[in-house]
Amino acid sequence: MSMNKETDEKMSVIARVLDSDIWYSFTRSKVTMVAALVTFLIFASALFAPIISPHDPFDLASLSLMDSLLPPAWNAEGDPNYLLGTDDQGRDVLSTILYGSRISLAVGLVSVAFAAVLGITLGLVAGYMGGRVDAIIMRVADVQLSFPAILIALLIDGTVNALVGGMDRERSAFTVLVISIGLSFWVQYARTVRSSTLVERNKEYVQAARLIGLHPFLIMLRHVLPNVMGPVLVIATINLALAVITEATLSFLGVGIPGTQPSLGTMIRTGNDFLFSGEWWITFFPGAMLAALVLAVNLLGDWLRDALNPKLR
């Protein structure tokens, strides 16, 4: 009997979701559904890259310079082994894209998570404590907001790289990238959470909680956070696209992921050198993958923002 009740509850949650406005607006928009599908496919292929990719592009031993700069398989000079051609090191473009998007996505997701956690925490602190702490945090936020994220990321990345030096770059590149990108994006989360916190802080249940002796901070966490999850999710989705672009840009500029285990941006950087001599595939396919990913995530973010905006309903 109890098992039925549980499944009943689960079914009713699902039923509620399916009946909700959000699902309605989701299924109404074919574009959004396609975007979600594309995002899912890219995520999946990135996740399962080691399993589904035909070669391992990072295994230096398996590369052969004899196979370098081959065009895609449908081209006369192509090799069916390398579906999308190879780059100047003999790496299979298809496999490199799969592994590369893995890295790009990893950087994107982790840096967004980092930015979100940092921003939410600072927003809560600023909103709750008010006074000088609030003023300082918000001032920093305002100033930082007037600088474009790419510049901040570039500065931090560049400076840290300068400090760390060449040898350790391979290992530290990921961390440095995540931190620089994360640090450039925390502000939006902080602002949103702060305004929610300010609203909640004055509510009576916070005073009541104080009287009882419960730490109001924890109470607010339980009440502010749910309110704020919607906008935070929208910010995070759009942020993800931006983070991926930022990583790709930094890699393209040469200060991101180094060339031995390339991300999509790094691949484009390599391919750029060969554009004029006609080897277009090294740039085109990573570029297309990058564009598809960012486009899809942006569309999802757009839809999410409209779906969660009470004013537009």
Binding site: T159, A162, L275, A291
Partner: protein, 323 residues
């Protein structure tokens, strides 16, 4: 209003000082200035003397002060890599970046505002859907990819436009401009579009959403109820109110255009300060990095100040005290 301006001015100075501090820390502690300047064979005594001359043994606050005051007067030190005063190098490359930034900003505004207005007023038109598709592309494609794409289409395939460099430049009183030659103008087209596309998209989306929001407001409803012409309602009332947030954000964007120029200059090998900065990052040429940071910060702070003042001037609610 004067009080407001003074307050903002003071804030700007504070920000500059803080940025100056960051730049100073970078300058002083990333790599060793003396090591960068001398060869390997130089004796330790000579190095010490150099240290003394450069003032590197003075107390830190004093070093900071020296750094700030020299920077304020235009002395940014000497490049490690090129052994030239950074200020000179900046002066050489600045016109290239500024021209590029200006042309792309104009492009972004002239394309973005009308597109935004159109998509707000004619929501169901086919043209609107086209504009929105373009805006999506503009926001999603990273700048460097757009640049590469444009190069591939117009330089590699069509061979109509140059893919690198500024073309011929003309020197006018120390300012080298590419606007006066055909090849200079041709060279400007692709980079300007690349740099401006993202901004254009932002402006278009902003104008659209602001205008749609305002078109729903009460005073627009009242304007229509008074029988005003559609032109008066849309342009006289709605557009004018839209312009305030648009001015603000566009002004702020101007600064980020200059920063984004780094990417565009890399793709097109445009000899501006962005490219210089990037090379400095790769060479760990700290004086250039610090100088660039200071300059960009100054630009941003200055632009923000102007925008804030402009805002006050334009919006009577802030300008005139309540009765």
């Amino acid at each position: 209003m004067l009080a407001f301006i003074i307050k903002r001015f003071v804030q700007s100075i504070v920000v500059m000082l803080v940025v100056g501090l960051i730049a100073f820390v970078m300058f002083r502690f990333v790599g060793d200035p003396v090591d960068q300047m001398v060869g390997l064979e130089t004796s330790i005594e000579d190095r010490e003397r150099l240290r003394e001359t450069l003032g590197l043994n003075a107390p830190l606050p004093m070093q900071y002060w020296n750094f700030i005051s020299s920077a304020a007067m235009g002395d940014f030190g000497t490049s490690y890599q090129f052994k030239r005063p950074v200020a000179d190098m900046l002066g050489d490359r600045l016109p290239a970046t500024l021209e590029l930034a200006l042309v792309s900003a104009i492009f972004a505004l002239c394309a973005g505002i009308p597109m935004g207005v159109f998509t707000a007023l004619y929501k169901d038109s086919v043209l609107t859907k086209l504009f929105q598709a373009i805006s999506l592309v503009g926001i999603s494609l990273p700048t460097f990819l757009i640049g590469i794409l444009l190069i591939y289409v117009f330089s590699v395939q069509l061979q109509k436009l140059p893919s690198f460099g500024r073309g011929e430049v003309v020197d006018i009183a120390g300012w080298s401009t590419g606007l006066l030659t055909v090849s200079g103008l041709k060279a400007l087209i692709l980079p300007a579009i690349t740099l401006g596309l993202f901004q254009m998209t932002l402006i278009m989306r902003l104008v659209r959403s602001e205008m749609m929001e305002i078109l729903r407001s009460d005073f627009i409803k009242f304007a229509r109820a008074r029988g005003l012409t559609p032109r008066a309602v849309h342009f006289g009332h709605a557009l004018k109110n839209t312009m305030i947030p648009v001015i603000t954000i566009t002004g702020l964007q101007l600064g980020s255009i200059i920063a984004f120029a780094i990417i565009t200059e890399t793709v097109f090998q445009w000899p501006g300060i962005g490219l210089m900065f990037l090379q400095a990052v790769q060479d760990v040429d700290v004086p250039i990095m610090a100088a660039y940071l200071l300059m960009i910060a100054f630009l941003f702070v200055f632009i923000n100040l102007i925008v804030d003042i402009l805002y006050v001037v334009v919006d009577p609610r802030i300008r005139i005290e309540k009765a």
